[in-house]
């Protein structure tokens, strides 16, 4: 009789205490081999070998391709052992030879298929192009690394195949392994060990210890050097495995029991359904965790189905497993035989009708063996124990149901959720039912189909995790994220600043991609720009006022045949629905380019349309910071105001009814591709709009300078913007048709836009946003009124910058103390506002004093406030500013 030894650290060894046990052929009850019986000491040795092999790095340190090549060598050795494996497996497990004969093929196939997937499809490293944290730019990526030492505990029904389910992904992922096969069926695992050694898998990478789970289980599941446990077995034992593994937080996969429902719908192909039910329940004597041992049959076909199923079941040949004519072999053991018999007795006691089987079978010419006839219970109630508890034998429970909903309810009325089937001639109906069953695998018009790339595992108490496919590789790896910041400087780290009194950010990034064409007649360039952007179908977005003024028509004429339409249903302070409606119009016209002609509201809508047109969905899906990873639909912006700078900025603002305030999308990829500043487009801007939008631009420039993110480039742009506004605003107020002054105002707004794109804005914008949302006060007007108050509030935190602002506003600061110069900047802003007739007080624009406390709370929550020069944490500070402005 052959003797098998344990496989530890590359060697076949006896158990340390010399114990052995016998393994029998369940078809004859005769012993067929002896096996060294591992004890705790052997388990320790195997774990130590696996640990050392992992830490040594000569397996875990190989590239995935190198490991795959070795696993392919292993597959070749398994192939060489194919016949021996098939015969041994059949003799040891009772698998009929027509099944066992396939096992080596399936094992080799899985090793090779998973190797290929590991090399060609599995994302060992993955770039994260947009991290989702706008405050910590840099490179973020993940690596998938091996877990470490993995224990695999394998059951007796498919010992070779289920061993390979665990060995393949564990080794391909760079782990090392200690495999414990079931004590009934250790032989194939030990032959696999021979194949591993012959293939040159390094010593210690793969180890096999055979011995009782009751003795070895605790050490395998609790040893500190074990990182992962994959267990296939009973739910009772699985719970304990999980509990033990939890003490050292090991990663765990459990594949446990099932009581799957095989649902036969009333329109099923009868012959197919009968074969499917038969195969689902009696394949491998029902000793399969995914068995469809509850067969749910529609009342419309119940009697006919039962009749056919019984006849077919009674034609199954139960015989010795190596007999090629046998359809079913023996059960694995006398204990399993006794268990099945007890459940048959129980079924009868519970009132189910035994229609066939329910008895042992004597096989002609064989003495002994654990043979049991295919057994069918009819009139089973799903509450019966035979319907709820897994029997793991050739016992099928037929349950009647009336409609699909009832079938689904019965199928789901179990603590298990491993697999199931639906038989129907209507695939759509079958899939509807399949989707409603809470289980890990559903087969439609088929059963027991396992496929190397298709994940398998349970819902509910059928288990945790998945085997097969890329999912199995994920189970055997862990994810490491690596972050490298864009700037390795503590002074530029926004989050480190939380623990610092100095909030100023030193470093910066200049990323303003918009091409600007400016001057009288600049509109003409649009004809070339559309072509350069690769477009042919430009949709003009505008508002009714601009359209009525004839400005949209000017653009249409300049676009010639490239214009597919004008959409003017955009109002000021647009909401998310405005964007969605405009996008729908763009889709209907198959626009490939957006040309926004209007103020900030129209251009912001244009930005939103470019995003939703490119990516689908609604605008509400994209209210994020810095997450877009590709260029958006091309966008040409033609501002008709000189205020928001939206033609060059990376931000778009929309009112959200759901949030009750303005929300933003911020992304460098939404900055328009081109901004055309043609002063003819602002000539007709009414006086009060000219003034309020100019104050928006002024606020952008001043707040950018005061911001904790301000920098030399932004300061240069902001200061010149301030100068241009100071010099040209009174001119355009006096003479709106002065093109030169109008162009200078547009340039000021654009430069201020660039400035705050880099440096953000601050408290004044937070306060203005709130007033805009709550009371629809024009944004520029609200900004202008609160700006001087905020400048004074910030004076001690941006003194140098405000002093420069004062100079840009024409204040002669020679001889002044810096703080006084800074304060003078606020005075100069107010003077300018008075000069051009800008509202000076909130009460003048309809703000009610009673509501100021609520507005202060809202303003504190505005994102812009984060970047304010002076830290703002107290709403009373903001309330005081509102009162000053009131």
């Amino acid at each position: 009789m052959e003797h098998y030894k344990l496989f530890i650290n590359g060697e076949f060894v006896e158990a340390e205490d010399g114990r052995e046990f016998e393994v029998i052929d369940p078809g004859t009850e005769a012993p067929i081999a002896t096996v060294a019986q591992a004890g705790k000491a052997d388990a320790e040795k195997a774990i130590a070998a696996a640990r050392k092999a992992f830490d040594r790095g000569d397996w875990s340190g190989l590239t995935p391709a190198e490991r795959a090549a070795k696993v392919q060598d292993f597959a070749d050795q398994v192939k060489r052992q194919g016949l021996r494996l098939a015969l041994t497996e059949s003799m040891n497990t009772g698998q009929v030879i027509s099944l066992a004969g396939y096992m080596p093929l399936l094992c080799v196939g899985f090793l090779r298929n998973l190797s290929l997937a590991a090399v060609t499809k599995f994302p060992w490293e993955e770039e994260i192009p947009a991290s989702g944290n706008a405050f910590a730019p840099g490179r973020d990526f993940i690596r998938r690394e091996p877990v470490g030492v993995c224990v695999g505990i394998v059951p007796w029904n498919y010992p070779m195949y289920i061993a390979i389910w665990k060995i393949a992904p564990a080794l391909l992922a760079g782990n090392t392994m200690v495999l414990k096969p079931a004590s009934y069926t250790p032989l194939s695992a030990l032959i696999l060990a021979e194949a591993a050694k012959a293939a040159g898998i390094p010593d210690g990478v793969f180890n096999v210890i055979a011995g009782p789970g009751g003795e070895l289980g605790e050490i395998l599941c609790t040893h500190p050097d074990v990182d992962r446990v994959a267990f296939t077995g009973s739910t009772v034992v699985g719970r304990e495995v999980m509990r033990m593994a939890a003490t050292t937080v090991k990663k765990v996969t459990l594949e446990l029991g099932g009581k799957s429902a095989n649902i036969i719908l009333d329109d099923a192909d009868m012959d197919l359904a009968v074969e499917g039910a038969l195969f689902g329940s009696f394949f491998h004597q029902g000793q399969v965790c995914s068995s469809g041992s509850r067969v749910l049959v529609s009342s419309k076909i119940y009697d006919e189905f039962l009749d056919k199923l019984v006849k077919r079941a009674e034609s199954i040949r139960v015989g010795y497993q190596l007999d090629q004519t046998s359809h079913m072999g023996p059960l694995i053991s006398k204990q399993q035989l006794a268990t099945v018999e007890r459940y048959v007795e129980l079924g009868k006691a519970e009132g189910a009708e035994l229609v066939t089987g329910g008895r042992r079978v004597e096989v002609k010419g064989i003495k002994g063996g654990f043979y049991f006839a295919p057994t069918i219970f009819a009139r089973v109630d799903n509450k019966m124990r035979i319907a709820q508890e897994e029997i793991f034998g050739p016992v099928l429970c037929m349950i009647k149901y009336d409609d699909d909903e009832e079938a689904i309810a019965i199928a789901n009325d179990t603590m298990y959720g491993l697999a199931g089937g639906v038989f129907s001639s209507n695939t759509a109906r079958a899939e509807r039912v399949a989707r409603a069953i809470r289980t890990g695998t559903m087969w439609v018009n088929n059963y027991h189909i396992f496929s190397d790339y298709c994940p398998f595992g349970g819902y509910k108490q059928s288990g945790v995790g998945r085997e097969f496919g890329l999912e199995s590789l994920r189970e055997y790896t862990q994810v490491k994220r690596i972050h490298v910041p864009a700037m390795a400087d503590h002074k530029s780290n926004l989050t480190f600043k939380i623990m610092s009194d100095d909030k100023k950010i030193a470093g910066f990034s200049y990323n303003c991609p918009t091409a600007v064409v400016a001057g009288h007649g600049a509109l003409s360039s649009i004809y070339k720009w559309v072509v350069d952007l690769g477009c042919r179908r430009a949709l003009i977005l505008t508002d009714p006022g601009v359209n009525k003024a004839g400005l949209a028509q000017l653009v249409k004429n300049a676009l010639v045949d490239f214009c597919v339409g004008i959409y003017d249903n955009i109002s000021s302070d647009p909401d998310l629905g405005t964007v969605d409606a405009a996008t729908e119009a763009a889709r209907d016209l198959r626009a490939d380019c957006v040309v926004s002609v209007g103020g900030g509201s129209v251009i912001d809508v244009g930005k939103g349309v470019c995003v939703t047109l490119k990516n689908g969905g609604r605008m509400n899906d994209y209210l994020n910071f810095l997450v877009l990873t590709e260029p958006q639909t091309p966008h040409i912006a033609i501002p008709t105001t000189a205020g928001t700078g939206s033609e060059v900025t990376n931000i778009a603002v929309f009112t959200s009814a759901g949030a009750g305030r303005k929300l933003f999308i911020v992304d460098n990829r939404i900055a328009p591709n081109v901004a055309i500043l043609d002063p003819r487009f602002t000539i007709t801007l009414p006086r009060d709009l000219t003034v309020s939008t100019a104050m928006d631009a002024m606020t952008h420039a001043v707040e950018a300078m005061m911001s904790i993110l301000s920098n030399q480039i932004c300061d240069g742009l902001a200061l010149h913007a301030i100068r241009l506004i100071k010099e040209n605003l009174p001119i355009v107020v006096a003479d709106g048709r002065n093109e030169k002054a109008r162009l200078n105002m547009q340039l000021a707004a654009t430069m201020a836009g660039w400035a705050f794109t880099m440096a953000q804005v601050g408290l004044a914008h937070g306060m203005a946003h709130t007033l805009g949302t709550e009371l629809h006060i024009p944004h520029g007007a609200a900004c202008g009124i609160v700006l001087p108050k905020v400048m004074r509030y910030n004076v001690d935190h941006a003194t140098d910058k405000l002093a420069l602002v004062a100079q840009a506003l024409g204040v002669n600061t020679a001889g002044m103390k810096q703080r006084d110069a800074a304060l003078a900047a606020a005075d100069a802003v107010e003077a300018l506002m008075k000069e051009v007739g800008h509202p000076m007080r909130l009460r003048d624009v309809g703000v009610s004093e009673d509501s100021l406390p609520v507005y202060a709370l809202h303003a504190l929550g505005d994102t812009a406030v984060i970047f304010n020069a002076r830290l703002v944490t107290n709403p009373n500070d903001i309330l005081e500013l509102y009162k000053q402005a009131y």
Binding site: P155, Y184, G213, G214, G233, T235, G257, T339, R342, E350
Partner: protein, 110 residues
């Protein structure tokens, strides 16, 4: 039977208010190993019986032949509470590893 097990059984029986015997029987709970469990049940004619600490235990002869003498202990730890049954003959290689509770023979349970 350990004293703790005896106490736990008596307490459970009192809570359930049931006057039945405690049956030791086979139970299956999934993929590849049956185990022994405890049930409340009526006594059948063919059962072997035993009285311990005032509790009546029954076992079918074929199960006794399979399992031999059975020792019953009780654990009550975080995450693990129930009866541990250890047969003198091997029923499954995981004998004594998991726990069971006391169910009615007619009630499903794991």
């Amino acid at each position: 039977m350990e004293p703790k097990a005896s106490q736990a059984l008596r307490s459970l029986l009192a809570n359930k208010g049931i006057q039945k015997a405690v049956r030791i029987d086979l139970r299956f709970s999934g993929c590849c190993d049956s185990s022994l469990s405890l049930y409340l049940d009526d006594i059948s004619e063919s059962d072997l019986t035993c009285e311990l600490d005032g509790l009546k235990f029954v076992i079918a002869p074929e199960i006794y032949q399979l399992a031999g003498q059975v020792s019953i202990s009780y654990v009550d730890e975080p995450g693990k509470k129930g009866f541990v049954l250890r047969p003198s003959k091997t029923v499954g290689e995981w004998d004594g590893f998991g726990v069971c509770d006391l169910a009615r023979r007619a009630e499903p349970g794991v």
